[in-house]
């Protein structure tokens, strides 16, 4: 190619390249505006007071639009979870209780069945908890233990554990 032709090719390439970059830069704000807005992100982290919860009691909080089960376990419930640890290899979703808790007294899980999304029962002692004393999902019969692990029924995974920080002994931060 002559020098004039190479210069022309470069010019057209530069113009075309800038056009593509410009179009991408223009498209980005349109796409990014669909990501969660600042007010949604602001409530993506919540703090919950847990000082008044007695052993054996549970409360339900809302976090990122979903229920979160916060249960203070009795020593028996902790022991039951640890017993199942011994046969962790037989579980559908192999996790030990220690992997799922920061402090053994407190089990905090997202209250959404990992099958098709119903809210399992078991927060109140009057509700069905299933044979492992954890939670029971009435929709299709998934059974969870006191660590929120799937023991029986169609759910594929243990109840999800959200990111937890103990700000103080009586205040947790979720998310």
């Amino acid at each position: 190619m002559s020098q004039s032709e190479t210069r022309r090719e470069f010019l057209y390439l530069a113009a075309g390249g800038m056009g593509v970059v410009g179009a991408g830069a223009a498209a980005w704000p349109l796409i990014n505006s669909m990501n969660p807005a600042a007010d949604t992100l602001a409530v993506s982290t919540i703090e919950v007071q847990i000082g008044t919860i007695q052993p054996g009691q549970a409360i339900t909080s809302m976090w990122r639009g979903q229920p979160v089960f916060i249960r203070r376990r009795t020593p028996e419930e902790i022991a039951k979870a640890r017993e199942i640890d011994a046969k962790v290899d037989t579980l559908r979703d192999k996790q030990t209780d220690e992997q799922r808790t920061t402090r053994p007294e407190w089990i905090i899980v997202v209250g959404t069945c990992t099958h098709l999304g119903c809210i399992p029962q078991g927060q109140k002692s009057t509700e069905m908890r299933g044979e492992y004393g954890g939670w029971f999902c009435p929709c299709h019969g998934s059974v969870y233990d006191t660590s929120g692990r799937i023991m029986a029924g169609p759910a594929p995974r243990n109840l999800d554990v959200p990111p937890i920080t103990f700000v103080t002994d009586t205040l947790i931060r979720i998310g």
Partner: protein, 674 residues
């Protein structure tokens, strides 16, 4: 109707599609090899620019609609949420609001081109009429779009314009009730305006398709107004006009971006940053600049039409105005039959050219009049300009069609010399000036607004965080007793330099209502950063009751919502003095030099030095506190200002480089021809 189209493309994928639907063949035919006159000037760019603006408005609009709520209770707040919380929401909103203005700028220039060069004449009459239809649809779309933010101008503009329909005899009131969906502009009106505002742009898109299709049958006009006589008079659209149009488009976008990034509210009205209040009419109801000439024509008819010296009225002034306003647009439809002179281009018709310029001046004058209150001398100027406007179409054009002796036409396009640039530039300048004709409306009497060179107003300005924090302290300790700032959340305070921990501590000082407990009782809890600023009163009525019937306005947007902006806030806070000797004060009000009418219900809020003890030790003089509050409120109205200007710099640099390269491309492409 049998089998595949015979495609000439080699690429197998393109060929497969093209055989079944010859879009690629069509593109090459209509935009590749399509013969266009070789002598287009830059006026011919504006059709493509208008199409770009239509696409920009649809793209930004669809994304805005994902966050907008068309309900009178939350519409205003949903727009502010877009401005403050949605990622890049402020940018999308300003692109859309300024995009409307620039869409009209492009279309007005495009229409001027059509008028001046006779592009409406045979065989392009239908093309012209589709264009007028597009203009009408644009006006409807823009009108409804402006109502959506549900500000004061949104509501009152909607009320005034929809009320026009009540002027129609017999059915007027029923039609107006039908339009409103009720007995006044209210929620049903807003909802249907949103639905229609979303719909019409796609109707516009369809009519644009017809407009371009009609153009491709007749071919384009050109500055000489004579038809191409052979291939020596034309050039293929690609690459000549693709290169030239892209360059012109980028220059246009640069001007557009100047507004979006540095003057995003210049073409709007501060009153629209005040939520709609059906009980309070703004002092001056003004439409957006692109409607001003037609608004002036509407208001020019101040007299009833009937039998003189009797009480017999055929057409009331109100109806007369409506007829004149719609007539001024309807008349454009029949332009091809009003001007039947055989010569197209104004270049060869000196009398026509003079009158076109007079029409432009009349149109600009009408725009100027429309922005002002309907008093002398504006009414008279408006009436004279309106008379000229109609005379141009109904009298001058038909007379010139028969009487005007045109200058001799060149033999062909290829023969002719290209035209006079200076005229073009002067006109473009005039047309760009039209949006700026909207003056800041002066308040009654003379109010004293002191001007300060706020550092954050510079093209690369940043907020003085120390001043804003002090201003926040003054707000907390003085203003918050009566004034809410409900659009701000405590977490926003990190924007003026508070740390997350400080923000949490500030929020905790306030008790807000919790969600109802199991018994349905509402208890209180300390606020968290995500909460909005707590309002001092539970609702507007409580606020009014505690303040002698006057409602202390919310301060979240006050700097944007007042003419004079920060200067006004500062001047108001420092403007309390004793009234002049002859001034009659109403009981319970205070004299203020900056307030319209000089009598304000709020007693001087910062009345003494040291009223607040600043945390950073700065001496809190009245002047200092006033400036600090003004800066805090400026930030509160526009928390993304710094990001906006910084992004603007990057965008302008990119566009300038891009424009330079495109100009080089254009010159290179056109080199063989020149």
């Amino acid at each position: 109707m049998s089998g595949l189209h015979n495609s000439e493309f080699k690429n197998p994928v393109i060929r497969w599609v093209d055989e079944r639907l010859p879009v690629f063949t069509m593109l090459v035919k209509e935009y590749g090899v399509f013969p266009a006159p070789r002598n287009f000037n830059y006026f011919w760019n504006f059709g493509a620019i208008a199409l770009f603006m239509l696409v920009t408005m649809i793209a930004s609009g669809v994304v805005l609609a994902m966050n907008y709520a068309a309900n009178t209770a939350i519409a205003f707040d949903s727009v502010e949420r877009i401005m403050r919380d949605v990622n890049g929401g402020w940018l999308l909103r300003y692109i859309h609001s300024n995009g409307a203005s620039f869409f009209f700028i492009a279309v007005y220039i495009h229409m001027f081109r059509g008028l001046y060069y006779g592009s409406y004449k045979k065989p392009r009459e239908l093309l012209w009429m589709f264009g007028v239809l597009i203009f009408l649809l644009m006006m409807a779309t823009a009108f409804m779009g402006y109502v959506l933010p549900w500000g004061q101008m949104s509501f009152w503009g909607a009320k005034v314009i929809t009320s026009l329909f009540s002027a129609v005899p017999l059915v007027g009131d029923s039609v107006t009730t039908w339009l409103w969906g009720g007995f006044a502009v209210d929620n049903p009106t807003l909802n249907r305006f949103f639905a229609l505002h979303y719909l019409l742009p796609f109707v516009i898109f369809a009519v644009v398709f017809l407009h371009i299709a009609a153009l491709h049958i007749t071919g384009s006009n050109n500055p000489l107004g004579i038809e191409p006589k052979g291939p020596q008079d034309t050039i293929p659209f690609h690459p000549y006009y693709t290169a030239k149009d892209t360059f012109g488009l980028v220059v246009f976008i640069m001007v557009y971006c100047l507004f979006v990034f540095w003057m995003p509210d210049a073409l709007g009205h501060p009153d629209n940053y005040t939520p709609a209040n059906p009980m309070v009419t703004p002092p001056h109801i003004v439409p957006e600049w692109y409607f001003l000439p037609f608004y002036a024509i509407l208001r020019a008819v101040t007299f009833d039409i009937g039998i003189p010296f009797t009480d017999v009225v055929f057409i009331e002034a109100k109806l007369g105005g409506v007829i004149a306003m719609f007539g001024s647009i309807a008349i454009m439809f029949v332009l091809p039959w009003l001007d039947t002179h055989p010569v197209r281009s104004a270049r060869f018709r000196p009398w026509f050219r003079l009158n076109v310029f007079l029409l432009v001046i009349a149109f600009l004058a009408l725009g100027y009049v429309g922005a002002h209150p309907p008093e002398a001398p504006y009414i008279y100027i408006g009436q004279v300009a309106s008379i000229y406007y109609f005379a141009f179409f109904l009298v001058i054009l038909p007379v010139l069609s028969r009487k005007e002796k045109a200058l001799p036409l060149p033999a062909s396009i290829a023969d002719a010399v290209l035209g006079n640039r200076k005229v073009v530039m002067a006109l473009l300048a005039a047309l760009f000036m039209m949006p700026m004709a909207t003056p800041a409306v002066a308040a009654e009497g003379t109010t004293e607004i002191k001007h300060i060179e706020w550092p954050h107003k510079a093209w690369n300005g940043t907020y003085d965080r120390a001043a804003a924090q002090r201003g926040f302290q003054v707000y907390k300790e003085v203003c918050a007793a009566c004034h809410s700032m409900r659009l701000l959340s405590y977490r926003n305070l990190t924007g003026i330099g508070f740390s997350e921990a400080e923000v949490k501590a500030i929020a905790k000082e306030y008790m807000v209502n919790d969600i109802p407990d199991e018994n349905g009782d509402i208890k209180e809890r300390p606020a968290i950063p995500a909460d909005h600023f707590k309002s001092p009163f539970a609702n507007d009525n409580a606020a009014k009751a505690a303040n002698n019937g006057a409602l202390p306005p919310d301060l979240s947007l006050i700097v944007k919502a007042r003419e004079g902006h920060e200067d006004y806030i500062y001047s108001l806070l420092t403007g309390y003095t004793e009234p002049p000797a002859d001034f009659v004060m109403m009981p319970g009000l205070s004299y203020n030099k900056a307030f319209a009418g000089h009598q304000i219900a709020m007693p001087a809020p910062i009345a003494s030095d040291g009223q607040v003890t600043y945390a950073d030790g700065t001496h809190a003089s009245i002047d200092q506190m006033a400036q600090d509050v003004a800066q805090f409120l400026a930030w509160a109205s526009d928390p993304h200002m710094e990001e906006r200007k910084q992004l603007g710099v990057k965008v302008m640099i990119f566009l300038a480089v891009f424009a330079g390269i495109l100009y080089a491309v254009k010159r290179r492409v056109w080199r063989d021809l020149h």
